[in-house]
Symmetry: D2
Subunit: 484 residues, 4 copies
Amino acid sequence: MLFRQIFDERLAQYAYLIGCQATGEAIVIDPERDIDQYVKIATAEGLEITAVAETHIHADFLSGSREFAEQHGVKVYLSDEGDADWKYEWVKKGNYDYTLLHDGDTFKIGNIELKAVHTPGHTPEHIAFLVTDLGGGADEPMGMATGDFVFVGDLGRPDLLESAAGVAGAMEPSAKRLFESVQDFLELPDYLQIWPGHGAGSACGKALGAVPETTVGYERRYNPAIRTAITGEEEFVDYILEGQPEPPLYFARMKRDNKLGPAILGTLPQPRLLTARELVKLSGRIDIVVLDTRLDRTAFMAGHLPGSVFAPLNKSFPTITGSYVEENAPIYLIVEEKNLDEAVRSLIRIGLDHVVGYAEPDALLVYDETHGKLNSIEEVKFDSVKAHQNIHDVEILDVRGISEYKEGHVPDALNVAHTRLLVRHDELPSDRRLLVHCGTGARASSAASLLARLGYPVALVNDEFENWPRIGELVTGEPKLATA
Amino acid sequence: MLFRQIFDERLAQYAYLIGCQATGEAIVIDPERDIDQYVKIATAEGLEITAVAETHIHADFLSGSREFAEQHGVKVYLSDEGDADWKYEWVKKGNYDYTLLHDGDTFKIGNIELKAVHTPGHTPEHIAFLVTDLGGGADEPMGMATGDFVFVGDLGRPDLLESAAGVAGAMEPSAKRLFESVQDFLELPDYLQIWPGHGAGSACGKALGAVPETTVGYERRYNPAIRTAITGEEEFVDYILEGQPEPPLYFARMKRDNKLGPAILGTLPQPRLLTARELVKLSGRIDIVVLDTRLDRTAFMAGHLPGSVFAPLNKSFPTITGSYVEENAPIYLIVEEKNLDEAVRSLIRIGLDHVVGYAEPDALLVYDETHGKLNSIEEVKFDSVKAHQNIHDVEILDVRGISEYKEGHVPDALNVAHTRLLVRHDELPSDRRLLVHCGTGARASSAASLLARLGYPVALVNDEFENWPRIGELVTGEPKLATA
Amino acid sequence: MLFRQIFDERLAQYAYLIGCQATGEAIVIDPERDIDQYVKIATAEGLEITAVAETHIHADFLSGSREFAEQHGVKVYLSDEGDADWKYEWVKKGNYDYTLLHDGDTFKIGNIELKAVHTPGHTPEHIAFLVTDLGGGADEPMGMATGDFVFVGDLGRPDLLESAAGVAGAMEPSAKRLFESVQDFLELPDYLQIWPGHGAGSACGKALGAVPETTVGYERRYNPAIRTAITGEEEFVDYILEGQPEPPLYFARMKRDNKLGPAILGTLPQPRLLTARELVKLSGRIDIVVLDTRLDRTAFMAGHLPGSVFAPLNKSFPTITGSYVEENAPIYLIVEEKNLDEAVRSLIRIGLDHVVGYAEPDALLVYDETHGKLNSIEEVKFDSVKAHQNIHDVEILDVRGISEYKEGHVPDALNVAHTRLLVRHDELPSDRRLLVHCGTGARASSAASLLARLGYPVALVNDEFENWPRIGELVTGEPKLATA
Amino acid sequence: MLFRQIFDERLAQYAYLIGCQATGEAIVIDPERDIDQYVKIATAEGLEITAVAETHIHADFLSGSREFAEQHGVKVYLSDEGDADWKYEWVKKGNYDYTLLHDGDTFKIGNIELKAVHTPGHTPEHIAFLVTDLGGGADEPMGMATGDFVFVGDLGRPDLLESAAGVAGAMEPSAKRLFESVQDFLELPDYLQIWPGHGAGSACGKALGAVPETTVGYERRYNPAIRTAITGEEEFVDYILEGQPEPPLYFARMKRDNKLGPAILGTLPQPRLLTARELVKLSGRIDIVVLDTRLDRTAFMAGHLPGSVFAPLNKSFPTITGSYVEENAPIYLIVEEKNLDEAVRSLIRIGLDHVVGYAEPDALLVYDETHGKLNSIEEVKFDSVKAHQNIHDVEILDVRGISEYKEGHVPDALNVAHTRLLVRHDELPSDRRLLVHCGTGARASSAASLLARLGYPVALVNDEFENWPRIGELVTGEPKLATA
């Protein structure tokens, strides 16, 4: 048996390639959509991917299962658990070779057996896979691919159904289902390896560790959520629903598409290289989105194409693009050629497929010389915020999450989480200048670019919020503008 | 003024980027079809390409002018010289911004003036461009982009019209027109730089030097063809038509497409990554072409996908693919991912756009393990050729050019130039084994793969022909099979 | 806690980076000698490596502990178990910050505790490390770094002390000690993760799996060696000593140097680029070694620098170079520049530090044109072997391992394992031509190059041994030349 | 004949590789010190470099001739013209194969003849090389490698002897010698190609064009300096000495070392990777130099290792490092690994060989977390300059060149060119805060870092000087602090 854990650092997502060397066959569990990454690894190991499986309908990325089925004709294994709202619809519509799994169902990849275990909670249809290396002489499983059920030191959050998918009242029942799943989990043997669907950095859990694997026995002993589940249901439900971070808005879209079937890519979108002259045609338009992927915040503020969004190609890229780009909007990138592939992959992994064109940052200079002025956004420090506090034509906008805001904020600051600005910006005044801040300037940079794009007069507070208490009063409590 | 000579080593082709730094504008003369290469260079220099020009209707690669016009809306400058058969047709049909040039016409790129000079011979409509740096204070030209008129130490061959485009009786009139063009060239001032369209390695001339630029005065003194033209027309015509190498067959297609307009690419074709299983579907098919780009001849002979053509990704790649792949055939590549872009660019530059899929060489191993046997072709040395000479079921096939064959060959060897096998293979016996040789084994390797693909029983003589005289008799004279 | 398993594919070696994010400290267990690889990973994770530890005195690669101590002043944790022959000597001689560990000793890296467990068998001083994430709230260990004690599906071989280090009569006592260590291992809780020192491909065990981690409980159930240990000591000793592959000869050197202290590198050796002219000075010399790292066997045989050794830069590179290069010999490489770093790292990892110069393969062509002829080695197939069998001036040399030979070989074939040729070649006749074969041609290619270097007349049987039975008689039994 | 112009974009320097394909020999004219770059190109072309030549004792980079002679035993061709102060000393001291050339001397590389032509002016010993392709049948030269004599559109400045080498009163005699050399140049035939030693961007001339080559005839017509030389000596001397930019101070060192012999490198210096802990030992020290090569000015100002110099790895890198780093100072780099080779090459090309260690930028974060605070330098805009103008404890420091200063500056601003700060900083007040500006913030960024390193209280005016006139008064005239 060959086992490979494949990590997407930006989404903190783990896929698993499991292959039988005797027959040359392999399966991928929870593939991302750019499936060539898995084919390359398998081929280099002398294996062929003949099947894919999903643990559940993902909310944070689009699944590659349909792409695999369409391109390579692989067999697809999906959950048939959960109620009517949680059925994979796409797989029944094409000419796919698929099996819908119920709790206890097994299938084989070469001499390796996979067994589905229904583990609802994070989602109703969630299954995990027990993997048994029959070819290696085993008759008990080696490990369990747990998807978003059990993470290293955490559990998959059961509130997404309500907070992201918008199903009111779903949180508590989900938490109770998760409680039951944990009880079953506790029946598993201690020695079993746990192969989770996410690692540190994901928005799918609150305390994911930077250790890639764990075991049933270790989690039984030290996973705080599981420990609470041992105590009792009520304690567990309280514990698990408390303080979960706000999920990005694009999660709802992922759910929908993973159910109905993500569009077939075939190959990656291949944006066309643009010249400065073509940037003219994109300048200031809001029916398309220009994503400026440069890392340097100050360089962006000093000069960027009018209407462009600051989306630095770092770990926040999926969150920024998933929250700031409207579905189906044609996307143009300001990106260095060497980073283009990486940017495109990040976008299509969350369903932003219409990547039409790109220009290298140098083209902005040609634009500026030849065709028109670049936009700029003023940068200020928190001492300017203090200075402006009593001036009527200025508002302070805090784009941190509501929980951060409540713990301490600038007096009279407005609050809209940066991930919700796209849908909530009209709650903001448009006749006064907005001084936009967050905790470090990172989120505020992107937020300021979005507000400028939408026509608001803005300045960026490019400063650490921890400097504020030395400058002005820190107040606690509810925001002036309510969050969703 | 900014001047950049841009070399395509595989086609030995020079394009020129000439820009005016004062206005930020630039022109490309004789661009290839994958125009992003020029846009990147221009952008990095702070320039925008606003125009393209062609010296003539190229025969050895597809021009990028139409692509530029379509994608970036640049102005196009083309020749309107030559008779009705030599008119650019595509430019009149689209909504293009173009100017058709006659001898003496001038236009400007920023503060740089280009002047068309009609220089027929290589082709009837051929023009060259005199470039004057008005912005630099000059009122005389700095250099001349000569296309396929004057090379360093050679002239563009006037026989292609007949030998490649198939216009019978065209050679001598063309040679005479070239003679006249040379007379005009000799009127130009000695100091003028000459910027040719090809360097060493191209099939467009017979003795191209490995020096990238020259001057009128130097060529007047030392260019053997020009020296002969100084002697007299008759001597020149004899000289220039003698011993030109056979042009690849795909040249005719290039002429046609450059006239009618190469298809618009938009972006490069993006072949899909295939798994071993999908190779099964390609195995042995002759309605598609699998090009195996590995460099190692022996590895190919030891095991390759049935029906695949050996097309190592070296300098011979355009000749092999241009001669062995039928127009519009869907193309699949066996190629390492890191070389994929290079392979695709090489293909589209000669109009082979249908690059549908690719697999990495490792996938052949998976195929061999799992799905079926790879093909092999036996390798022998010239001593085996000797041993087989009197055996009835074997023929020796010499795939060198006819002039090489005439100078000395194996007794009774058949001769078809490897570049003509695709159209002439039915002249070969199919009931006897063909021992295929060339001068070194390089051309014979690809030829043997093609013949195996077409169903002929073959073995490769992987040996240096210079070893033959020590082994057997060397005879001279005409081939048993006539060349076209 | 941050956990990273770092794999060297060529040596199938795992090092472990374990860090405490709260304090920014990290440790590396079993580092290789080119320690920059670990520093880069740690730095990117925001950690600083402040300590290193070793599980035992390695035999298959040089440890990076001393390098770490010398360069970065890190704390060193080493075993003080085992008898006087198995003491780390280097650490006491420098000005190092070190702790010698006995069974049960603990130390901390930030909030992570490591506990040494004496696990003799593979070597007398072998320890494993139990890792407890105190900062994560645990009071029991998460996993055990087992070094060469427990692998996934195997145990570290206890015969190396005798077979590689040359301690006669050591095998059985070592096997018994290993039996005891396994008994202690069986006391550990099932849930514990096992982080082994080697994966599939290493010469340190016989059946290593391609799964990177395992657990105590799983190994208890399915590790065949451990299963046998549960049965009884006698069965275990028989089992564990049977059929272990012959260790490469360089293992003895590794043991010595890891004990006395590997030389300090500071930075990687940086070979100088050579021109063809300088290759002349290297041609045919046996006081230096030219390693030709090209992958293409046939290309090497067709032309190589006289005296050079065929050492293709694939997974066999450490075995070939460790067996064919004499200690302290100045090394020159024929290598493409892009692979130079990889080749140098592979060499220094096994103590071949004197990498003086390199030339690119193209330089061989210049050499051949300008300075002298390249050598060639004839390639034959097994049918030639058959044809030569009764000819007096030819001997057939089988360079496979003795166990392979015994299972079936060509009648009258000599046998010396290719890894022992350097010390045993004078057992071979030098007045007759040697036809060198192995199972596939891979080992024989390198062996033939070594024999040619040493002055023997050779030809390479570049063929699969599985073809032999169709051609000639297959006999079993002892070799004509005894192995060591 | 093979001809290759090899460009170092950072130093705007051209070397020339000229080879004879018939004999496989090649020469490099004016090589840089990292000679592997030329060996690689030659080897790929099937050539061996057997000789090197220099046009003159370079002032802006260290020559690679000695390195070539030492490493590869090539023949060296150097000028023996000029007086006793301008003799190459190194070549006579080793066991080198060399020829000292006088005007008219010829030598051959294969079938190519080179002829030395004494062309004093830029320097007294300056020679140019006429290159004749005898093998190509020529008996007159094809081109002239003119070194720093004739550039495209300019001449090599004759003032360096005085302004950089410090020989008082040398300017005018040099200019007259140059005048004479130009007269001789005008005797050359128009057709001759001119291959200059520098292109656009070099400090060796004032108006270098972005065209890589030219001809005698074109320069005769349009080179303004040559045009003036045609008018008369007096006009020429006035013209050529007027307005030459101040040469960097390190030029004097280059002259000395190119005469006495640059140190032998053997291989490139190989700095050791440092951890954050080791940065502690470098913090604040002025006996070593830490060069921070990040491109992002604002990131450096926000946090950098105390004492480090801002030296972004762009085209200004040689000027900054050549002006800010004291000879023989041990150098440490903050640099991304992928740029390390490029940074090291740039340093050794100007004789900064003691590159001891490097850390990746991420290590600064680890340092900041674990070991100590990074330094910061405040950034202000010109409006703050205005606000501070009348405050006693602040001085405005303009680090532009004196000619820029004279054309318009902030009232009462001090002036020291940034390239002279290292030797002139004690002219500055150390008890008042210095607001450091230049034209764009680029030069001022590096200058501010140097001043902070030297203990001055500084702030950076990160603003365009063209904004100043809208804010405050622009005055002209001499600086308060005189330049050297």
